[in-house]
């Protein structure tokens, strides 16, 4: 069912790949407790490509995601995001890179004290040289795009699970990222809502020419991917869609 992964031929917009991984390995713990979670992983994601990553829990999917998201220090191998080498990149460089990467989490991770609109604006606020009114306008635009124009002033507490995840998508996209990382965004949603949310995510990402790497267990959304990759025991395989 699985075969070793070959570099993808997918290239709708051309140019250099958004993510380019070559021989990436990662370990947790020290000395005797040291345990390898990623083994010689190689992966390319082209601009605008939607890649779904599946695999049993504990196989290293989330670790790969945090490494690409510049949230962890690279230990071994090459990891380039937007052409920037992340191995040996310092705190400041990683923080600046994160601004160009949108992230959607298992939980919605919205700020409880902010309204839906303000949460989205936290994403838009990362854009440089825009006036408050512009950023605010963009936040509203994104909420409209995810179909929440009637819920702008609600707190996360008053929104349903699907609505919260849509706010999270709007927030991630409001920073105009070129890469979107999503970790089981449908985990807390029922199947219909889950599929709707991912469809929305895919459509909006396409419009922005934004690449997507999504970790998921959800078999009902696998058909939405341009490409499926499967991870097992720290190794990546191309999977049959």
């Amino acid at each position: 069912m699985t075969r070793p992964l070959s570099p993808s031929a997918f290239s709708p917009t051309g140019g250099s790949p958004t993510v380019d991984i070559e021989g990436l390995s990662h370990w947790y713990g020290r000395r005797e407790m040291r345990r390898q979670v990623l083994q010689q992983v190689s992966l390319r994601i082209e601009p605008g490509e939607v890649v779904l990553l599946t695999g049993p829990s504990g196989c290293g999917k989330t670790t790969l995601l945090t490494l690409i998201g510049a949230l962890r220090q690279v230990q071994e191998g090459d990891l380039r995001v937007f052409g920037e080498q992340l191995r040996g990149a310092g705190r400041g460089a990683r923080q600046r890179l994160r601004r160009r990467i949108g992230m959607i989490f298992q939980g919605h991770n919205l700020l409880r004290c902010l309204s839906a609109e303000q949460n989205v604006q936290m994403g838009a606020d990362l854009l440089p040289n825009l006036s408050y009114a512009t950023r605010r306008g963009q936040a509203r635009e994104w909420l409209r795009a995810v179909g929440l124009e009637d819920h702008m002033n609600k707190l996360p507490h008053d929104l349903s699970g699907g609505q919260k995840q849509r706010v999270a998508i709007a927030r991630a996209l409001a920073a105009q990222p070129q890469l979107l990382l999503a970790d089981e965004p449908t985990a807390a949603l029922d199947s219909t809502t889950g599929r709707e949310v991912v469809e929305l995510l895919r459509r909006l990402a396409r419009e922005q020419a934004c690449s997507v790497l999504m970790v998921t267990h959800d078999p009902r959304i696998l058909d939405l991917a341009d490409r499926l990759v499967r991870m097992e025991d720290g190794r990546l395989y191309a999977a049959e869609g």
């Binding site: 298992q106 991770n109 303000q118 604006q121 006036s131």
Partner: protein, 389 residues
């Protein structure tokens, strides 16, 4: 202002506080309590120090001569009166008033018990106080054995003022000599003196026959309007021998206050009380901010994952501290005003809100909140964006 609107961000710190009203109220109650405690303790302290110079403030003088052996209003030593006359040699000196100053035993005309009272002796024709209503009353002192009694003296001296107003002839004994109250003045009590009375130099010498002739305890000097008191003090110090100390009027006030500040534990006690308020406030604000940061840790981590810098998030905590300081100070200030009014009415202590104390307490609250924010920030460094996936 335009730039501000342009750069405006979501007021995260404010919203974090406001959207958790219970926690905010606890924090504000704690800060206000600490502020009120500081206002009260410092107010009492300053009020007591202020009260120690009630009489000192009233003198009509620019420069005051005292003996270097004097330590405070309760132990004034004498110096030769001719030093004051010598001071007249300076052209800028306009007038002088020699004053005798001592604590004497006053017999309560009702209970016959004795208690020490501050007696000032002066020439009834000389200006003593800036209050102009004194000089007509002072004329009554030209008769021997007459005193002016301070109606604001403590009640332990007897119902002198009430009897006098009823038209009775009030007579009592000072140091075994009979005196008659010839009028009432209004000065106020202080640390050193529970009551005050004025008398003529002549009567004073009668009451204290052991006073060496020509010896006084305080010499008041009035300068010409355009003269600089600082310069005059310098010139008088050069002119007069070592047996007198030359002070400005403010210097004389400071001399007295300094005695109570350094020579007694009053300052220490009340400052310690204020410090307790500060510490209590610190603990409360720290607790509130620390648990606030802890509760929001996943949210802070999310913001870091989105690309917000750590310094921006530290700024949120600092702003929370600043807002708490501001919001907590206002009720403390209002309550302080109210309590000062209450204290003034019940204890006659001259306690009032002054700018420097208002600023001191605000600074303390600010330090309290900033220090707590600084400590709570350490928690934020634990926020690891890699852990939230």
């Amino acid at each position: 202002m335009g730039r501000f609107w342009w750069w405006r961000r979501i007021p995260l710190a404010l919203l974090m506080l406001v959207r958790q009203p219970v926690r905010l109220l606890v924090a504000l109650a704690g800060i206000s309590f600490a502020g009120i405690l500081m206002f009260m303790q410092l107010g009492f302290r300053d009020g007591l120090f202020d009260a120690s110079v009630t009489v000192h403030r009233l003198f009509d003088a620019d420069i005051v001569l005292i003996s270097p052996r004097s330590t405070s209003s309760v132990s004034m030593a004498g110096f030769p009166r001719r030093r004051l006359v010598q001071a007249m040699a300076l052209p800028e000196v306009e007038g002088i008033t020699p004053v005798n100053w001592n604590l004497l035993l006053w017999r309560n005309p009702e209970t016959r018990g004795t208690r020490s009272i501050l007696a000032l002796g002066f020439e009834p024709g000389d200006p003593l106080f800036t209050d102009p209503t004194l000089s007509p009353k002072a004329q009554a002192l030209t008769q021997k054995g007459r005193v002016l009694f301070d109606e604001r003296s403590r009640p332990e001296f007897g119902p002198v003022a009430a009897w006098f107003r009823d038209g009775r002839i009030v007579e009592s004994e000072i140091a075994g000599k009979r005196v008659r109250v010839a009028g009432l003045i209004s000065l106020g009590t202080s640390f050193g003196a529970d009551g005050n009375l004025l008398t003529s130099s002549e009567t004073y010498r009668d009451l204290l026959p052991n006073t060496p002739p020509g010896s006084i305890e305080v010499g008041l000097i009035r300068l010409q309007d355009d003269a600089d008191p600082q310069v005059a003090v310098k010139r008088l110090s050069d002119l007069l021998p070592e047996d007198v100390t030359v002070l400005t009027k403010q210097g004389f006030i400071d001399f007295e206050q300094n005695y109570w500040k350094t020579g007694t534990s009053i300052g220490f006690i009340f400052t310690l009380g204020a410090a307790m308020g500060f510490v209590v406030g610190c603990v409360i604000v720290y607790q509130v901010l620390y648990s606030d940061v802890s509760d929001h840790l996943p949210e802070y981590a999310t913001l870091m994952a989105m690309g917000y810098r750590l310094i921006t998030l530290l700024g949120v905590v600092v702003r929370e501290g600043l807002l708490l300081a501001l919001f907590g100070y206002l009720p403390a200030y209002a309550a302080g005003q109210g309590l000062y009014l209450l204290v003034r009415n019940t204890t006659q202590l001259p306690v009032a809100m002054d700018f420097s104390r208002a600023l001191t307490v605000f600074t303390m609250i600010l330090i309290m909140c900033m220090a707590s924010a600084g400590l709570a920030m350490r928690r934020l460094v634990d926020a690891d964006p890699a852990e939230i996936f």
